[in-house]
Amino acid sequence: MEAELPTEYDVIVVGTGLVECIVAAASARVGKKVLHIDKNDYYGGQWASFTLRNIEQWVEEHTASHQETKNTEECALEEGEKLAPTSDPRRVYSKVKLSWHAHDEAPTASEESATKDDSGEGSSEETTTPKAETKDEAKEIKTWSQEEMMQLSRKYAEFKCITRVLTWLVNGGDEGSLLVVPCSRSDVFTTSSVSLVEKRLLMKFLEFCHSYDQQPEQLEEYADKPFVDFLKSRKLTDNITHFVTDSIAMVVGDVPCKEGLERMKLFLTSLGRYGTTPFLFSMYGCGELPQAFCRLCAVFEGTYILRRPVSSLIINSGNTCLGLVSEGQRFKCSHLVIDAAYAPQEYAAIGSSPKQPSLSRGIFIIDRSILPNEKEQLTLLRLPAKDGNPQIVTILEVGGGSGVCPKDLYCVHMTCQGYDAEEDLKIAVQRLFGCGATSQPTVLMSLYFNLVDLSACDLVSGAPTNVYLCSGPDTELDYDFAIDQAKNVFTRMFPEEEFLPRAPDPDEIVFDNAGAEPKDGDNFDSNTKMGEKDEATVNPENRTDEEKALAADEVLSSTKEGSS
């Protein structure tokens, strides 16, 4: 098949991170010829989700010393052309550390932090389930249910609602404890963590925020003042102020009032669309999202090749990219979209300055929820940078119901800004997993790493005009940045075209081979179906790349959406 592979494309996309995938899908959607290449054997790049075994493999690859294997591939160059070698995408990672922890509860084990001996025991148990742990390499995925991401991807991916938002509340001098944040009306009604009068104050405030922009007169006075001052003017108690700033608006108290209210409004208008919190988590991990866009791209005839390294880009004398070289083969294109980590060194200053923004990530597998409940919950928790915690840490806990780990185990993701994951997340880990108190979960596995936050880098000025660099995950909860970047790249490439118009419904598509006309004279007593259309479901797993490319019918008939 590869022998016949066409070598000329409108767009070649290198790397299957989310931004790249959205650009690929958008381009194919408007009829551009797209080639999508990734050197990995999995989709997602920095956004991928892994099984447990793949994590170990990934860790192995990323802890081995980065030897610069010089790309020595030969390729016939024409006059004025030169090769720009690609970089090792591993360059954005640092301080990767994977540990397996003692599974038995014998307190004697506490002296030595068990890192290696028990790993066999821990993993054998989990690998018995066919799809064991999945880790989201780069970021917990959460999305505002009302935002664009949902409009774009819900046809091709399944979502689950985050069922509760927690907060860490320090009361007086105590160490603090986890509480459910009352963010919807039913939460406020049932919560016992706010008093009767506070319930009213909180609800009133939430109602106000929902339509704050319609009452500008109430805001004038606070236009340039901090959000907290405004909260004080509304007579909110300290207790509610904590819930509002740290867990609903998710801001620090001194942000301008307007920004705080905007965040409140976004939160509140996203509520109740799919569930009791405004957040959604993609089933089977966030790695599903880039894949969803790949499916869309494939449906519109994008070509996919995985396990295909790209050694260099081909640049002509006018500093325009003509295409790339991969395994000695030359592919031509008018536009080249590439993961910034993968891009030639000189295109983006990555890793050159030590103080480049960076994310600290921690991924843990634990044996019970951080706040057990009768039903399995999908939990979001934001630890504010106060009471001893150095950084704002965003924490996501997912259980077996989301298809990311076996039943009764939980996977916890922590993210904050920082340069030393283990150190930055120390307080958070201490608070949630403690030092072995019986009520707290036991950590079975932990993985720390740091990742350069490419969203903060200049990705435009260094590259040729037809090479578009895409960043990896940022610290925000949502995908706004990725979508904006993808949209921006797309508009730069095709200013005249529409960005991802609505994907067609199955019955809007004409298949060449299908006998579209319904048969006449159907006897009533035959098994004529008068009800709804059949609902085909697609199992998102077990799909090989080839199948994906061929799966147009199947995918399109999948009407399974995240939730109703």
Binding site: F189, L196, D522, F524, T528, M530
Partner: protein, 560 residues
Amino acid sequence: MHGRLKIKTTAEQAAEKQKEREGKRKLYLGGVTKAFEKRSSGTHDEEGLKITAQLLAANPDAATLWNFRREILLALKGDDESWEKLLTGELAMVESCLMKNHKSYGAWHHRFWVMMNFPKPPWKAELSLCDKYLKLDERNFHCWDYRRFVVLGSNQQPEDELKFSQHLIEHNLSNYSAWHYRSKLLPLVHPPPSNTPHPISEGALIKELQTVVEAVFTDPSDQSPWFFLRWLVNRQEKVPRMLQVGYVRYKGDSGLVICVFSQPVPQRAVPFIRLNGADSDETLIWYAPNDEDYSNVWVAELNLSSVEAHTISLIIDPSMTEMLNVGEGSTQAIEWVTTLEVGGEELSDTARSTLEEVKDNCVTLDELDPGNKWVLLTLVDVMWALDCHTHQKKIHSYLSQLQELDVLRNKYYADMKSKLAMETSLKQYRIVAEVGSKFELSGHSLTRITLSHLLASTASIDLSRNDLTSISPLSNLVACRKLILDDNQIQNLAPLAGLKALESLSLTHNKIQSLEQLKVLEGLSALTELNVSANPVCDLDNTGEDIRKILPHIKTLILR
């Protein structure tokens, strides 16, 4: 490689839809014809089931088809095992119809029918079906009905149903159906002791109040929890009791025995009566002044010689006899049977403090959200339940606020004000007044008369300077001799037609327009004094003569 992906235009789609619809219509009509043919030829076979199933799946509201289907089923009924199999199939079939329209009368009715025909109905599965459909539409009354039926059949405990309603309310506090269901279940699970005025036991009351107050603080604009809250705090007297007995002479030896009850009761509730220690019951003809089957007041004629003393024994029940002594020459004898207050039983300390707490919470809520009608209305209820006399001023001012806030129900609040005035002054009257003395409630803008049965034995009543239009409750004033109704809007005097003791009636400044309206008083032989001045009727020619003609007993007639 597959071909280029083509997307249909909207015109193509519309044409296709149109064609599809045409086809469906043909199929449906063909099916209906076939089914009707079968029915008229009396053919009950499997094919009929198949056809009706398909038709009903497309249109679950076709009642005739459901009927035909039941006829076929009954015709095909075999032994228990096959019958059960057939019915199980029906359940699945009905559910597919419900998916199409989950408020289909026909489909739900069929499901009832199937379940009632089952040898061993699969109740448990039906309960989860209810859960499912109530999740889809939490106020689906078909499904609520069906759930009650299933609960009854499956012997599901009310405790579990209570939990279920709790769950629904926690999910959405606007689920009125769930609150209502709760009010039906609570008295079963937590029945109140017989001597309390609450709908449920005290412990449960406190707990429920706590929950519902949290709900109203969360969203005071939602009326569902308010209805529940008002139901909880309203006092309800469960067993009617006899309040008062009396004997009133109206003319010579003629007199009336009067029994007053706290609630309307049927005639059989009236006690037997024995005279002067006799050992057999008197045969009396009891009647209700309002001519209803149920009445607060029951009256019977009893002639007793006025020159001697009498003892009337009222046998309320075998263990309780009330004695009424009518002295020599006295015109009346009245006894209170029960000493309880007007509104029913006294509150316990716990209930009182709980209600006080609800009151304080509502006051707080009123400060936080001024102008919320439900807050005010509940305050009225709670204060009323606590003590309408002490809180009279407050309640009155809340009602005035409500009249402004909720203009559409202005009259309703005016009626409540009347009730308040009536209740408080009656309470006062009972405390200070001697039996049979004068009751006066003039100048209170009364729009409505309540609790008139408590005045059944009162001899002199003044309700002048109010806004009364209807005086029908006054038929209870069977012992009244002097009645003043000046300055009202009264037209119809019929309710006074049975007041045999009435001697003096004043009706100045009302709306009596014709002689006809006065004619209803013709049977009142004791009535000798009538004042109808400042009524339209006085402007007619020869009014005085005409009135005297129809009411010959009148000695003093005042027209101007």
